[in-house]
Each structure stands twice: as C-alpha cells, then as structure tokens.
C-alpha cells in the first residue's frame, strides 16, 4: 500500500514506511538537512529539515515524521522559513566565521544554506566557544571541533556501516564534541567516508587538505579500478591533475561508499608516468615516436612468426582493450601464448573490498582472453621463453618482477629478441624493455569495466592522456594496422559496437544503455 500526500501543493505517492523527507526527495523536491543521510539511521538532531503540517500547531522534522494519507506538507511557508532561519542561527552561534581558510568552503552545508535560507546579520555579541583544532582522529581524518555541528553522521557511520564504533559524542552543551573512544583511532578501511558525509568543515582529509580550493575542481564520472567491486566514483580533477576521488551513489554496487585503498589509489595517475614511447639503444632507453616503436614490435613479430610471440596481460584494461587484444592475439598475430596475470590477491572483506585487485578480470574473460593464469601456466610461459620457443614478449600492465622474479626478467632482457612493455606507470621490470608503449590511465580514456557481479560500468575520460600516452585500444588498433589489418576505430564506443555484435552476453549493449549506473547482464538473462 502506498500513501498519498501533498507536498507544497504537489500530490505525490510515497512508500508506506517513508518519512516526509524521503518522500520529498524521491519526488525530486529538496528539503534542507544536515543530520539526515539516506543510508544512515535517523538521528533528528540538527532540526534543519523543519516542515509545516496542516492541522499541527508546531513545525515537525521531516526526516523523522512518517508519511500518512491525506497529509498536507508545506516546506516553504513563512513559518517554516522563519523556523529554519532560527535553527541555522543557533547552529552558527559557535561556528567560526573563517570560511576563506576552511577547506570545506565551496561544498559546505552551512555556507550553502546560509546563502539560501539564512542571510541574517549575526546577533551574537558574546565570545564564541573555542574547541580543539586540527585533531588527527586517524591516519587521514582531521577533526576541527569548532566547526562541528554535532550532526553525528560520522558517529552513525562507524556504528552502523563499518560497525567499528571508533567515534562517540562526549560531554554536554557547549562542551559537547565528537571524539574517538580512548585508545581507539579512526583507522578502519572505510574511514575516508566520514569526510564525505560530514556536511561542514569539521572532518577533512589530510590527503586533500589545502591542496586546492574545491571550486577549481571538475567532476568526471568513473569507476574505481582498485578491485573487482568497481565502486562508482567521481574523479575530481583540475588542469590534468587528479586531486581526489569521491564515491558516487550506486545502490547495486557500493551504496554511497568506497574504501580508503581505492580512494587514495589515484596517485598513480599523477606520478611516475610513462609519457613517451621508448626504444632501447645500447644500454639505455631513448625516447622515440609512436610509428618507430610500433614498427619495432611489428618487425620482431614478422621476423619470428606469430607463434613465437608471448603476451602477458593484467586484467586492468577495459572491455574494449581486452576485446581488441584478444582479436589481435588470435586473428592477427596468431599466437596461443596468451596469459592473463591478475597479480597477487589482496585483502577481502564482506562489505566492498574484493581480493581480486583488478577491475576487469571478468570482463577480460568475456572478451575472449584466457582465465587468470595459474602458477603452472606462468611457469610454462617462462619455460617457453627460456627454451627459445617464445622470442617476443609483450607485457601489458604487468609487474614483470612480481610475476617472474627480478633475475628472470634481467636474463630475458638479453635472451628475448624483443621485450615490449606497455604500461601507464613506471613498473618494476620496465627498465629491461626493448620497446616501451606508454598507455593512458583510466582517468584519461573512455571504456567499460565488468565487475565481479557481471555489471558493465562506464569510465569516462576526465582529460586528455598525459604526454604521448595512448589508450590501449588505440595501441592495439595501430599494431593491427601495421600488421596489415584494416581496423579502424574512431572511439572506444565503436569498439563496444563490435563487442555488442560479437559477444553474445553483451548483445545490444551501448554506452547509452549502460548509462551512469551500469548495466547487469546477469539480471537480464
């Protein structure tokens, strides 16, 4: 049974168990709030979401008032506006007025609502209370008690979502403040989310603090490549530099959270990048041009024949990359020495973090690459190289040292006729390469990842690749063209059109169909 009610003259239908604020948000209306969060329990302590109900003398908080049939709600009546202003004035009594130096400025609930609903002149003549500044609650979370409005979102997050209970609300009245329990630190693997949900500048990220003002940042929708979960994220960047990642709501995948390992994984986009195609000349790698580098590999392939080519690839590439690589390996180069190397499994938990630290292990297999290699398969490839059956090795996004050992890789540098390393970052083993192809990071290209649930999700290019780096699908296209194929793809989307025709599970898929929240083929079939 659904309930019918009227909000601001608009008749809406709401779920039976909805509260007014939920009903309003679902109908596309906003009610100002601080302590209410759709994924946390109701606290009802900020009093900002006041609404007027017909037939009731006092204003009610919409976050904790269940909807009822024939309810008539006003969210902007003079009484509500007056009440909201009063609440805001109380919240700001002890709040320092130093927005220019506060790191939250630009994305602060107090600032925004003051401009929308407050706009009074301060009547507070007394000395504001002074609290603790720059308190390190954990490795990344910095707390400023003067700026806190005690909404307890962070406390509820640690109690309900991570269930680690590090934070509590201590003391009373003016002295009330958030703190960690004695002997505890806010160091759970999801602690960074407390900074995201803090509506004011009380919790800030040590990593992001003071790096840039938020109004310079642009947002690009993407997917975290840190593990097989594929948490939906927004990349916050300015001038080709990524400053932070923020989780994006997707109830099917990550709700509205992400882990700290994923959150701080962005640094590889900014540092230690391979920016130029390189070619070995004597002992050193020298910068070269793309045509020269491609020709070098193509000559080696033609010299030894396809079966002498080994390909070892990490499942870090998009579906588009993997599809073209699988086609390149089987139809163009014609080799059977293809190995998918997923790296060492990492930590796993029951919430978001997956042991498989690759974003696209499932998608890579859907696209025709082999299943993740066992130790045996790796050894077999190593033996093939040592016995001289494989003379050309094409390593794509793989930490060769972790996969085969430093000594082996150093030996291969002389043993192989051509060792091609394709990566976006300076990986261990890179220095032994004969040819280096710089590839674009996930923030610099379009594409799709398929997460462990079988959900195809979209990544978007936030900015152009640094230096001369190219998205992997473009490198494969250039290789195929140099090997005499008539491949031509103008964009990653064109590759997906081919996938939609060739791979049955992905039939009919397009970027429009995937949208912002992804598309799950397991649900469809």
């Amino acid at each position: 049974m659904a309930k019918k009610l009227t909000i601001d003259g608009k008749e809406i239908t709401a779920r039976d168990d909805a509260t007014i604020i939920q009903a309003a948000h679902e109908a596309g209306m906003t009610i100002p709030h601080y302590c209410y969060h759709p994924k946390l329990s109701i606290a009802g302590n900020c009093r900002m979401c006041l609404v007027e109900l017909e037939g009731r003398p006092k204003l009610e908080i919409s976050c904790n008032t269940p909807v009822a049939d024939n309810m008539v709600v006003f969210t902007n009546s003079p009484k509500v506006v007056e009440g909201r202003r009063g609440v805001l004035e109380f919240l700001l009594i002890n709040h320092p007025l130093d927005c220019p130096i506060c790191d939250q400025a630009g994305e602060c609930g107090l600032q925004d609502y003051y401009m929308q609903h407050g706009l009074y002149h301060s009547r507070f003549q007394e000395e504001k209370t002074h609290g603790r500044k720059v308190v390190h609650l954990g490795p990344d979370v910095v707390f400023d008690s003067e700026r806190c409005i005690l909404c307890t979102r962070c406390v509820r997050f640690c109690r309900e979502v991570t269930q680690t209970n590090e934070l509590g609300l201590f003391q009373r009245g003016d002295s009330a403040q958030i703190a960690t329990f004695p002997g505890k630190q806010l160091d759970n693997p999801y602690a960074g989310n407390t900074v995201d949900i803090c509506p004011v500048g009380a919790l800030t990220s040590q990593d992001f603090r003071f790096k840039i003002r938020v109004w310079f940042l642009r947002e690009t929708r993407s997917v975290c490549p840190g593990c097989a979960r594929g948490c939906n994220i927004n990349i916050h960047h300015h001038d080709g530099h990524v400053y932070r990642l923020k989780p994006r709501q997707n109830d099917e995948v990550n709700v509205t959270w992400m882990c700290d390992a994923g959150r701080f994984g962005y640094t590889s986009i900014n540092v230690q990048r391979l920016l130029q195609p390189q070619l070995r000349q004597g002992d050193a790698l020298q910068q070269t041009t793309w045509p020269t580098a491609i020709a070098q590999m193509v000559e080696a392939v033609q010299r030894h024949g396809g079966q002498a080519v080994g390909i070892v690839v990490a499942p870090q590439g998009t579906n588009e990359d993997s599809y073209l690589l699988a086609r390149l390996a089987s139809a163009v180069v014609q080799t059977t020495h293809v190995v998918l190397y997923p790296g060492m499994p990492g930590d796993e938990d029951t919430f978001l973090i997956r042991a498989d630290k690759n974003p696209n292990t499932r998608g890579a297999q859907d696209m025709g690459l082999p299943a993740p290699a066992t130790a045996d398969q790796l050894t077999r490839l190593a033996q093939a190289i040592d016995q001289g059956a494989v003379k050309v090795l094409y390593a794509i996004g793989v930490d060769l040292v972790a996969a085969f050992g430093a000594e082996t890789v150093a030996r291969w540098a002389t043993q192989l006729d051509c060792l091609i390393v394709q990566a976006s970052n300076q990986l261990p083993g890179c220095e032994h390469a004969h040819v280096v192809f710089p590839s674009a990071t996930y923030a610099e290209r379009d594409g799709t990842f398929t997460n462990f649930q079988g959900r195809v999700q979209r990544i978007n290019a936030a900015f152009a690749p640094r230096g001369e780096a190219l998205p992997a699908w473009q490198i494969y296209t250039r290789l195929a063209q140099a090997l005499g194929q008539a491949w031509s793809y103008a964009a990653a989307e064109n590759v997906l059109q081919d996938i939609a025709e060739a791979v049955p599970a992905y039939a009919g898929l397009s970027y429009a169909k995937i949208g912002d929240l992804g598309w799950s083929f397991t649900h469809e079939s």
């Binding site: 130093d98 220019p100 130096i101 506060c102 500044k133 720059v134 603090r209 003071f210 790096k211 003002r213 109004w215 310079f216």
Partner: protein, 165 residues
C-alpha cells in the same frame, strides 16, 4: 551630400590653416612659454597617482610572518590566472594555513587589482608605484613569495618606481 566648392576641392586653404597651428606651437615652445606634454623619461621621473596599481607586494603581520592565509580568493578572482599559491599546514592550529609558495607571473598579470579587492585580510597590495619591470628572461617575471614580501631583492630584474611612492 553637398558638393564641394572649388577651394574645398583643392584642399590648400585647410592645409595652410593646419600648418599655421603647427607653426604657432613650434614657435611658442621654442621661444616662449612651454606647454610640451612629452616627458623626458627616464631622466625626468614620472609621477603617478596615489591609487596607481603598480607591482604587487605581500603584507606582514605584526610578528613579521606573511599576512596571507592562502585562502586563494585572489587566485580565484584573477582573470589572468597569474597567481599560484601552495598552501601548507601552519604550526599554530588557529591559523590553519599559510603560503609555502606564492608566485605571481607579472607577465600574465593585467594589473586589474581584483586580487587586492578580493583579499579578506589586506595581505596583497599594489601600492608600490613600481610600473616598469625589465628582465632578460621570462622566468624572472615569476615573482616568488619572498620577493613579494620584500625579503629578497630583485636580482635579475630592473624595476622602475614612481618617486612619489
């Protein structure tokens, strides 16, 4: 349009009238009262108005530390995007942050003064009266924090200043 008369068509009377004005100025400036607007710069120093927007400088607190809190409102308001600030955590938690680096690209600057207007703590001013900057390299026009504070003197750059500042 009205047709020109014969005298207008040959232009000569107007040319002679123009020459008369020129000659009058020439003679009065050569022998009599001088009304020349030409300044003999740089031998003769230039006076500029008190509100003239010259090269920037950074102000200090009473304790001598930079007054700037690196709020970046100047960089935000700058239409030429010539202000680059790197903020650092200040040892005093009530101060929050301070500029580790504060660089103004004086070649990009359009001297509009919006940074001065935007600054909430009067940390940047353009009242130096310095209007002539000359150097051999573009890099030298990247004025670092200590030069703007007056700690360092310009070494690779020549600065011309109005004497009334």
């Amino acid at each position: 349009m009205q047709a020109l008369t014969f005298w207008q068509k040959i232009y000569l009377p107007e040319i002679l009238r123009g020459m008369a004005v020129t000659t009058r100025h020439f003679v009065t400036n050569l022998f009599g009262q001088r009304h020349t607007v030409t300044q003999q710069y740089p031998e003769q120093p230039t006076q500029v108005s008190e509100r003239y927007r010259g090269r920037h400088r950074l102000m200090r607190k009473e304790d001598g530390s930079p007054r700037c809190t690196s709020c970046m409102l100047c960089a935000t308001s700058c239409p030429a995007l010539c202000i680059h600030i790197q903020a650092g955590e200040h040892p005093d938690p009530t101060v929050e942050k301070f500029p580790i680096a504060f660089t103004i690209d004086e070649l990009r600057c359009v001297f509009c003064g919006l940074c001065v207007e935007a600054c909430p703590c009067d940390a940047i001013r353009m009242d130096t009266g310095i209007f002539a900057l000359a150097a051999y390299k573009r890099d030298h026009f990247l004025y670092p924090r200590n030069l703007l504070l007056g700690d360092d003197l310009p070494t690779n750059i020549a600065e011309g200043k109005a004497p009334n500042h």
